[in-house]
């Protein structure tokens, strides 16, 4: 556990890696403040209203980066999963949520690099969880992340996020799994996606989530994927 530098950050949206395009990211976990002050109060009062989370992204245009490809593919299609990773190792913190890709614009002026302005609007709030190091699967057989030992099971369920970042051949399945022992694994219900590149899903689950968790890729294909787990 530690402090981080800019190269520790990664941003994924809808199964696309935005990291190479961005120069700045800011998350806001916030609320609207309401004023309940009454005549009997000696000082102004404050109370929380609706949750008002937000994300702000700025960067540089690059026609081989996936932010540009994501803009072309996703802007009209509705919501996808946004994930911001604070570190690259299994167990590092990640914030995730579903969000609309509203706009991607490329302002330019003489003497400067062409910029990339990305506007993504969150639908509801961000979840704080831990991610598993990005997996790269080469051909047949499974690829597994390191295992997270969460100390104890929870009966409060949680939320899972999966990004399928690339599939260069065949079929790739990606799943979040849990285990009571660390040896016998099963999919967390609903937390599996078999898809093509540029796929992202959010899955909410209730009930027991076992002590040990990991992220796995299976199938015959070659590809990369990323999993994030939020335990309630």
């Amino acid at each position: 556990m530690a402090k981080k530098k800019s190269s520790d950050l990664a941003v994924y949206y809808g199964g696309y890696d935005f990291g190479t395009a961005l120069t700045r990211v800011e998350l806001t976990l916030g609320i609207n403040a309401l004023d309940p002050t009454s005549l009997s109060d000696a000082g102004e009062r404050a109370t929380g209203g609706l949750r008002a989370d937000a994300v702000a992204l700025t960067g540089l245009f690059d026609d081989i980066n996936s932010a540009d490809a994501a803009a072309a593919a996703l802007i009209p299609t509705g919501t996808a999963v946004l994930s911001v990773l604070f570190g690259q190792a299994t167990g590092d913190i990640a914030y995730s949520g579903t969000a609309f890709f509203l706009a991607a614009k490329n302002p330019a002026s003489i003497g400067e690099l062409v910029r990339q302005e990305v506007e993504i609007k969150l639908d509801q709030s961000l979840d704080r969880g831990m991610h598993y190091a990005k997996l790269a699967k080469a051909g047949t057989g499974a690829a597994n992340s390191g295992t997270l030992d969460n100390t104890a099971l929870t009966t409060a369920g949680g939320v899972g996020y999966i990004h399928v970042l690339s599939v260069t051949s065949g079929t790739v399945g990606a799943a979040l799994q849990d285990s009571a022992t660390g040896t016998l694994w099963a999919d967390i219900p609903g937390a599996r996606v078999t898809g093509s590149a540029g796929t992202s899903v959010k899955v909410s689950f209730t009930g027991t989530l076992n002590q040990y968790t990991k992220f796995t890729m299976e199938g015959t294909g070659i590809g990369t994927a990323l999993g994030i787990l939020v335990r309630s």
Binding site: M1, A2, K3, K4, K5, S6, D8, L9, L22, T23, R24, V25, E26, L27, T28, L29, G30, I31, A33, D35, T37, D41, A42, G43, E44, R45, A46, T47, G48, R51, A52, V84, F86, G87, D92, I93, Y95, R128
Partner: protein, 142 residues
Amino acid sequence: MGKFKVSGNTIVRIDNNAGTLVTLSSYIDTIGALGKEVQSLDVTSFADSAERIIAGIEASQEVSISGAWDDTATTGPDAVLAVLPGTIGTIEFYPKGTASGSRKISGEFLCLYYKPRGEVKGRVEYEASFKLDGTISIGTAT
């Protein structure tokens, strides 16, 4: 008694979401101005030759903290602050430390936001903002 440098002296404690004060001084490099402030109400009448005022109720004020983002479990700023927006808890500010008799400024605050952010070539940072709910207490450490 005298003047004091911030480093090694200033202590900031903030309630976590379970209502337990956590010392975050090791993760804070800036805190906004925090103290007592009242509203000024104008009571000037025709009989006055100069503007008159009286003190109103304590004005709400916002204070922010910021520093290097750190994912230390349980007691680090990300673990403590990420779950605070929308909750009201105690903030204690000790400008010159917590020795008995040292100045203590405290109050109940609504957490407005927590913002982790990163910019190329820089450290990952955070900022959190709090809005006073009620009145500030100016006292001393015990």
